[in-house]
């Protein structure tokens, strides 16, 4: 497929933003600016960026690892940083890196895979209410083995709902390598068992991700039912910040650093002449400034009071 130049540049700009937000969160977490547990997603930006560049603002999106989906879907950076710091937003409407109804993010589950049925429910609403809102659900290889994922995918297929399931196979569920968790080489093989298309894609190739996601989202939106995409990728950091990573060799990480999506795409665009070295520098500076501004704003906000934490409880 022919991807217009401005779309190619949007993909680049979003890749850079995702990586820089990830880096910034690492910095803020290690310097104690915020104290929550943190799962970063460097190396896995390509598919979220592709999907975020395809979906409409009000399409539903279940985020995967890191904050890439929130960034790529266009949730303001100030809201993302404020929510990571558990600050009180000045807006009336809730808007965070994981729950922002205006952007189609409906929340995520700490227990893996339990949120997949929730997003299938959003897809059910789209069908029942006759809207054209598509749903995309991200989850990892570890989550793919959870029961609710199976139930949700089957039900979505039976009801022919407008949804795309995207498994980001980063090859490790904390320490468990996919070879110990799956008896098949491709998780996408499971799609056949649900009666939906199963596609394997290089999850570090943003253009390839864009193409397969574009087709699957179109099929969903046009009433053709769900698809299952497996994006093969790799997380460049530990499962959490502080993970000693005894379970994987340093050489393996170094190998994958060479294949990481931002570096790869930047080189491609430079080679094609779509970007110049100056463009790269300028984009870098602009996004850095934008992030600094968002962080400064988030830091200036107050924390919610205990009363505000419990105000939605009506029982």
């Amino acid at each position: 497929m022919e991807i217009p130049k401005e779309k190619l540049l949007e993909l680049y700009q979003k890749l850079v933003t995702c990586r820089k937000v990830d880096d910034k969160l690492y910095e803020l977490n290690t310097t104690g600016v915020f104290s929550g547990w943190l799962h970063l997603g460097a190396g896995q930006e390509a598919m979220p960026v592709a999907v975020g560049s395809i979906l409409h603002k009000d399409d539903y999106l279940k985020p995967g690892r890191g904050e890439h989906c929130a960034v790529a879907k266009g949730i303001p950076l100030k809201s993302i940083f404020a929510s990571m710091m558990m600050k009180k937003l000045e807006t009336e409407k809730p808007e965070s890196a994981i729950y922002a109804p205006e952007y189609g993010l409906l929340g995520i589950s700490g227990s893996l895979g339990e949120d997949i049925p929730i997003y299938v429910g959003a897809a059910l609403s789209s069908k029942q209410l006759g809207t054209d809102r598509a749903t995309v659900c991200f989850f990892g290889d570890g989550t793919a083995n959870r029961g609710p994922v199976h139930e949700a995918m089957n039900l979505a297929a039976v009801w022919k709902l407008p949804i795309v399931f995207i498994c980001e196979n980063n090859q490790y569920a904390i320490s468990m390598h996919v070879s110990g968790a799956f008896a098949v080489a491709d998780i996408a093989d499971r799609a056949a068992g649900y009666g939906m298309p199963g596609i394997v894609v290089d999850g570090n190739d943003v253009v390839a991700c864009y193409e397969v996601a574009y087709n699957a989202i179109n099929i969903a939106r046009e009433g053709g039912g769900p698809s299952f995409i497996e994006a093969k990728t790799y997380r460049l950091r530990g499962h959490w910040e502080g993970d000693p990573e005894y379970y994987r060799p340093k050489e393996e990480i170094e190998e994958w650093k060479k294949k990481e999506p931002l570096k790869r795409y930047t080189e491609e665009l430079l080679e094609l002449g779509i970007l110049t070295a100056e463009d790269v520098e300028r984009c870098d500076a602009e996004i850095t400034a934008e992030i600094e501004e968002a962080v400064k704003y988030a830091e200036s906000l107050p924390s919610p009071s205990l009363e505000e934490l419990t105000e939605t409880l009506r029982l």
Binding site: Y60, P94, S96, Y99, P101, L106, G107, S109, G110, S111, E114, D115, I116, P117, I118, Y119, V120, G121, A122, A123, L124, S125, S126, Q128, L129, G147, P148, E151, A152, N154, L155, V158, W159, L309, T310, E311, T312, L313, R314, L315
Partner: protein, 327 residues
């Protein structure tokens, strides 16, 4: 003055009518679960709903409780008002993360004002169905910070509470006792609602208070009748909803009688009775003339035998004995 038209309805049909009326009233109400459409529900509760509302709004699902609960939450966040059935309340344990950690916390976690989900589930010992099929899960549910829990006993309460639940903006677990489905009661012909958090004094009395709910209301009433023949007047307080709990009704009755027996079919340890005991000990200690008594099931999985099951759950005579032990 107008006379109120009343009809005799079974508990089952009262529930059915509540769903049908709310589906007629609000096109965003949908109803789904296992065997609820063509089959009309495992206990016949949803008979005729598919015929009236069609496959668009009455959906049969595969055996996938986690998907049923999760999709209900997602649909409720995006414009629908799902009413779903889990075939047996014991099966709530198969989707407990969805029930407890999701339905019960989503509003608070994400500050979403509205999460209109009603989960209906038949519960209780019904003649030797075994551990899962007979389980009464309410103690697990009231521990949640965000779930409302309804436990109706009469057709009147069943219909009015369910309509309130469907119109409300909070997730509700609505527990129907299997043995009550065929029990008849009078229900007004015109529309009415029963509010949550308001207990109903099913029998007045001055000598002792029996706090109970669901099917045990009728054993408590039978026990009270028996006690009355011996000159002891027990007051029977039917809670109707466990969350919100009508503390005031409990405390007022205890202040009047000075004696409290709490009866439930669920197991005793960690049960609802323990929670009520703590509330009364805290807020009406000076009014108590005797210790608080719990009459509840043995701490066992209910056996797959009607005869053994009956030995494990409270019977009328246990309630009579408990009341007498306080006098």
């Amino acid at each position: 003055m107008t006379t109120t038209e009343k009809t005799e309805l079974t508990y089952r049909w009262a529930i059915n009518h509540a769903i049908a009326e709310e589906m007629r009233r609000d096109p965003t109400v949908i109803f789904y679960g296992e065997d609820v459409g063509k089959h009309g529900g495992n206990f016949g509760v949803s008979r005729a709903l598919l015929d009236e509302f069609g496959e668009q709004r009455v959906l049969d699902t595969p055996i996938s409780e986690q998907a049923i609960i999760g999709t209900a939450l997602g649909a409720a966040l995006t414009g629908l008002r799902p009413v779903v059935e889990i075939m047996f309340a014991g099966f709530l344990c198969t989707c407990f993360d969805g029930i407890f950690m999701k339905l019960g916390t989503w509003q608070q976690r994400y500050h979403c004002a509205s999460l209109p989900v009603v989960v209906r589930a038949p519960m209780g010992a019904a003649g030797g169905a075994g551990a899962e099929h007979s389980f009464s899960p309410e103690a697990l549910l009231i521990h949640s910070p965000g779930l409302k829990v309804a436990v109706p006993s009469t057709p009147y309460d069943a219909k009015g509470l369910l309509k309130t639940a469907i119109r409300g903006d909070d997730p509700v677990i609505y527990l129907e006792h299997i043995l009550l489905y065929t029990r008849k009661g009078t229900v007004p012909s015109e529309e009415y609602l029963v509010p949550f958090g308001q207990a109903d004094i099913k029998r007045e009395g001055k000598d002792a208070t029996i706090v109970t709910y669901s099917a045990m209301v009728f054993k408590a009433l039978a026990a009270a009748e028996q006690l009355s023949q011996e000159g002891i007047e027990a007051e029977v307080v039917d809670l109707r909803t466990l969350v919100p709990l009508d503390e005031e009704a409990i405390l007022n009755s205890v202040k009047k009688t000075g004696k409290l027996v709490i009866v439930h079919e669920a197991m005793e340890r960690g049960g609802v009775a323990g929670e009520i005991t703590a509330i009364v000990a805290d807020k009406a200690f000076d009014y108590l003339d005797a210790p608080i008594k719990r009459v509840a099931a043995l701490n066992v999985p209910l056996p797959h035998s009607a005869k053994l099951e009956a030995m494990c759950i409270p019977q009328e005579k246990n309630i009579v004995e408990a009341v007498k032990s306080l006098l």
